[in-house]
């Protein structure tokens, strides 16, 4: 017997080899960043706002009350719009009627026409969106980028706002409708009757927007708040009035950092598509609101987490308005040197009216900062993803197997490289940089990492070369560049919105072209891809500068550089200028035209439709978009991050991978947002939702301007919600569409 066992050892092991079947498929570990909990992300501080020896805001809670009231108050608009009229559903907009802009950012302007629907019908103003209208770019086989295109519309799904018109004055008899010269709009009308105008870009959510370094899809809401306009230091006429003594008040410039929410808040109230008649100014808006009870016609729940104690409501008896005034709130919240000057005179005046007071003159600052402080409370850090326990590597342990595969797919398919950090976006530049050292796992590992510094300019591979791009702004090929140039656009003063374009001018020595001081702090050794490497290469280099060019060391220190120190260099100004003047230069290319702010993915389940043009209705359509590698291949496209993904298209588990990825994205929904529990509770608001009739006929005679050929509004009423939330959850956009 012993002889048998010895003799048979080898053949037995070989036999065992044949019999042993190891069937479990072990995935190779995904490289790169791991998404982490939002509570790790700090709100970037604004020195001087409410701290320091002479703060602007002296009572934060009163400022938040003021901000929430202003945000929801339909008296702010010239014809009934509030900020919340477009930011009411998880901070965004899910209306379906009269929500289409005919490519309002397309060039040339003649291209701004309504396109036909997928079935060839005319889409016009007052159209009710259907599932079959989406996506706005369709292939015969959604997962095969080589299959034929069957629909391509440059229309945009966004938010209906104001009727527009020319501002004449606020109504002195107390109506919330401003006195304007109004006519049927040349673009937005049914027949000869005017309809409400629609914004040219989809409305993003305000929730977690406090973490964004800049705001708006094109970044024009400047990180620096100047007190009177959205443009930061670019607006040399900006400033606020500061009382020196009883007889003297002077205009001073304001420079608050990390305040792009305040910059943003000043744009819609004066915009004639969103909220206002053209030509209205903030002091006039201030005069209007200072005469009115806050939320005058809007019911407030007695348990509203911010407004409840000031409401006129009690249990079982809900009433409109607050029992205070905007003036009282401003006086309580803000340092008196900004509103207590008693004389009029230096602040300008409206025609045929008393000159403005200091409080009216500074109303833009009170408005912007109060809105910013309210929006800073809208942080959704209690999603299932956040609340799950973590193992020692930082991975959640309380998600389902499907959701965990979805997280793996999120990393394997490179989503985590742009939707990075706790807020799931690289656009949270200062916030991500603040935790790059304490939470390095959120930004990569040894095999794959993303440079996370305070750089507002970075470098990325495009199809043509290595290009400068604005940190947090990417082109994924949703639309053609002619449909919307994004951050490649210019401000009203003729300056580029893009930091990268300014940076290149700075490299050539043209520093007068730099209007955002952040550009001077860009450190080349922190670029993701090298720009100027002080090394001689054994093969030809055309896409970046090397020791064969005239290099200078970067002006900043080299502490904690992302790249090796031989990349801490720049081309000399004359070299950069010579390169810039070359036709077809590859070393100073940029990827900004058609690039847009990368959105956060938090609560993404609730904030459809998606992308800057609102052209994708469901998360399924979004995943298909990325799975096929996008719709177009414009020059600025980040082509090594957005390309056809085999794991989501041709892999045997592709359908499961896509479904699991969506399941993971849904774990980013905060239940408090879904049920509008504090701090996401709110007053009642009546929002225009299309016009009586359809896209072929409407009813004339809107009482806003009865003699002016404006269509009658239809309204939806969102009921007031208190701190304990609503009984039914908010729904996803695509579930609200007719088939």
């Amino acid at each position: 017997m012993f002889v048998h066992s010895k003799f048979n050892f080898l053949p037995f092991s070989l036999l065992a080899l044949f019999l042993l079947q190891v069937n479990s498929a072990v995935e190779a570990a995904a490289p790169g960043p791991i998404p982490i909990n939002l509570s790790t992300l700090p709100v970037p501080p604004t020195p001087g706002l409410s701290n320091g020896s002479d703060p602007i805001v002296i009572d934060l809670q009163k400022a938040i009350i003021l901000g929430k009231a202003l945000f929801w108050d339909t008296n702010v608009g010239s014809d009934g719009m509030a900020c919340a009229s477009c930011h009411f559903h998880a901070g965004a907009d899910v209306r379906v009627k009269n929500q289409i802009s005919p490519g309002g950012k397309s060039t040339p302007p003649q291209a701004q026409l309504f396109d036909n629907s997928t079935s060839g019908d005319l889409i016009n103003a007052n159209h009710i969106l259907k599932k079959s209208d989406f996506p706005f770019y369709q292939l015969q086989q959604p997962l095969d980028p080589n299959s034929p295109t069957i629909h391509n519309s440059d229309d945009v799904v966004s938010s209906a706002g104001s009727f527009g018109g020319q501002f004449k004055g606020i109504d002195l008899y107390g109506s919330n409708v401003d006195d304007c010269l109004r006519n049927a709009d040349p673009v937005f009308h049914v027949g000869s009757t005017g309809t409400r105008r629609v914004q040219p870009r989809n409305t993003p959510t305000v929730i977690n927007a406090v973490f964004n370094y800049r705001n708006f899809w094109d970044g024009r809401a400047n990180n620096i708040f100047n007190g009177s306009s959205p443009w930061g230091d670019r607006d040399t006429n900006a400033g606020i009035w500061v009382k020196i003594n009883g007889r003297r008040v002077i205009k001073k410039s304001l420079h608050l950092i990390n305040s792009s929410l305040a910059s943003q808040a000043l744009a819609p109230p004066l915009n004639s598509t969103e909220m206002s008649c053209a030509g209205r100014v903030f002091p006039a808006l201030g005069r209007k609101l200072l005469q009115k009870t806050p939320l005058q016609q809007q019911k407030v729940d007695f348990q509203d987490s911010v407004l409840g104690s000031l409401s006129n409501s009690s249990a079982g008896d809900i009433q409109p308005g607050l029992n205070t005034t905007y003036g009282a709130l401003i006086r309580a919240a803000f340092n008196r040197k900004y509103w207590s000057y008693r004389r009029r005179g230096p602040f300008g005046s409206a025609p045929n009216q008393l000159p403005y007071t200091q409080m009216e003159a500074n109303f833009s600052m009170f408005f912007g900062l109060a809105i910013q402080l309210y929006e800073s409370t809208l942080i959704s850090d209690q999603s299932r993803f956040d609340l799950s326990a973590r193992d020692e590597t930082g991975m959640p342990t309380q998600l389902t197997a499907s959701e965990m595969n979805g997280l793996e797919q999120f990393r394997l398919n490179q989503c985590a490289l742009c939707h990075i950090g706790p807020n799931f976006t690289a656009t949270s530049i200062a916030a991500n940089a603040a935790i790059a050292k304490t939470h390095p796992e959120a930004f990569g590992d040894a095999s794959s990492s993303i440079s996370t510094s305070s750089n507002v300019v970075n470098r990325i591979l495009t199809a043509r070369s290595v290009a400068m791009f604005d940190s947090g702004f990417a082109s994924t090929g949703v639309t053609e560049t002619t449909s919307d140039i994004g951050v490649g656009g210019t401000d009203p003063f003729g300056n580029p919105l893009s930091f990268s374009l300014q940076y290149i001018q700075h490299l050539t020595g043209n520093n007068t072209a730099v209007v955002d001081a952040d550009v001077f702090n860009v450190r080349s050794c922190d670029f993701q891809e090298a720009f100027a490497v002080n090394v001689t290469f054994p093969f030809p280099i055309t896409k970046f500068f090397t020791a064969a060019d005239d290099l200078i060391p970067q002006p900043q220190n080299t502490i904690d550089c992302y790249l090796q120190v031989n990349s801490a260099f720049l081309p000399s100004p004359s070299t950069a200028l010579a390169e810039l003047n070359k036709p077809n230069s590859l070393k100073l290319t940029t990827a900004v035209n058609g690039a847009f702010k990368i959105p956060s993915l938090r609560n993404i389940e609730l904030t459809g439709p998606y992308m800057h043009n609102g052209g994708l209705a469901s998360l399924e359509q979004v995943i298909e978009f990325y799975a096929r590698g996008g719709n177009f291949n414009p020059p600025a496209k980040q082509s090594v991050k957005v390309f056809p993904l085999a794991l989501l298209t041709s892999d045997t588990a592709a359908a499961q991978n896509r479904a699991d990825l969506i399941a993971f994205l849904k774990t980013l929904t905060d239940e408090r947002v879904k049920y509008e529990k504090a701090p996401f509770d709110h007053p009642e608001i009546k929002i225009p939702h299309g016009h009586v009739g359809d896209e072929f006929s409407v009813v004339n005679g809107n009482p806003i301007a009865a003699a002016s050929d404006l269509a009658e509004d239809e309204f939806i009423t969102i009921n007031a919600v208190g701190a304990s939330g609503r009984s039914t959850p908010l729904k996803a956009f695509d579930s609200l569409l007719a088939p």
Binding site: P31, L461, T649
Partner: protein
């Protein structure tokens, strides 16, 4: 009976040791052995065939990506390690619905660890390793230092290579267009190429490159570990899965011995049962 089962358990353990999967945490992660068909990436028996079927692949991960100046795309292509136990002619072949395919076979020191430290190498496209790497260069060339075995990197003060790295680039094959640059100073030809500098690990490399099928035959492939990198070679084609096969033709004497041992085994078993 008792001894049979004891032996069986012992050999099971031995077999398990031999086929255990390695979830690598290197700069790139080679496909674990468990993902091969039957969980087997060992050419254990003379003349056997092992395969990894229906594997995900990207259309331009081997070459043909203009953003990378046609370098290989280390995180998006797939790496397959296998261990050879018999010095025989071995053919590595890849089939796919993609017509333009490419692969390189390297000899490694032990099972490839995926590279363990960044070498700071930079390609002409401005991309570092392993996002971009040199798929046709020799061990130690630009774009391969990160994956080269440390035994070969002793003269380079800036790069020490990796503990289980490549020892020699044996050959590559490309059924797509040739690329005169690959971002690292080499080129990628069309067809099959013997890039080996010695006959230490094989005595010749030949192969075929046709639409949808590529193979390399390594004559008298030495015992030991190898790694293959596979991907598409055309920016315009659609991505499709690939089937990888590694097969050996056994020497005739070995077949006869194997067959008779197996017959002996079965007859022993029957006799014991009858007793």
């Amino acid at each position: 009976m008792k001894q049979l089962s004891t032996t069986f358990k012992v050999s099971l353990a031995a077999a398990a040791l031999v086929i255990s999967s390695n979830a690598m945490a290197g700069l790139v992660s080679p496909t674990p052995g468990a993902n091969w068909d039957g969980g087997n990436n060992h050419l254990m028996m003379a003349g056997s065939t092992i395969s990894a079927s229906n594997q995900t692949a990207n259309r331009e991960s081997y070459t043909g990506n203009p953003s990378l100046d046609n370098a290989a795309w280390g995180h998006v292509g797939y790496w397959y390690t296998f261990m050879n136990h018999h010095a025989l002619d071995t053919t590595v072949s890849v089939d796919s619905a993609m017509s333009d395919l490419g692969m390189t076979v390297w000899r490694t020191n032990g099972e490839f660890d995926g590279g363990t430290q960044s070498s700071g190498e930079l390609s002409s496209a401005g991309v570092g390793i392993p996002h971009s790497f040199n798929q046709t260069g020799n061990a130690g060339d630009s774009g391969t230092k990160w994956m080269t075995d440390s035994s070969l990197m002793t003269a380079d003060p800036l790069n020490t290579g990796t503990a289980n790295g490549i020892l020699e680039t044996l050959g590559y094959v490309n059924s797509g267009a040739a690329q005169s640059i690959n971002g690292w100073g080499n080129s990628v030809g069309h067809g099959a190429f013997d890039t080996s500098l010695t006959n230490t690990y094989e005595t010749g490399v030949t192969g075929t490159a046709t639409a949808g099928h590529i193979d390399l035959t390594l004559s008298n492939l030495a015992n030991g570990w190898y790694v293959v990198f596979i991907g598409g070679t055309n920016h315009t084609q659609s991505s499709h899965n690939i089937n990888l096969t590694v097969s050996q033709v056994p020497a005739p004497a070995a077949v006869y011995l194997f067959g008779s041992a197996l017959v002996g085994l079965i007859s022993v078993g029957r006799k014991r049962n009858a007793a």
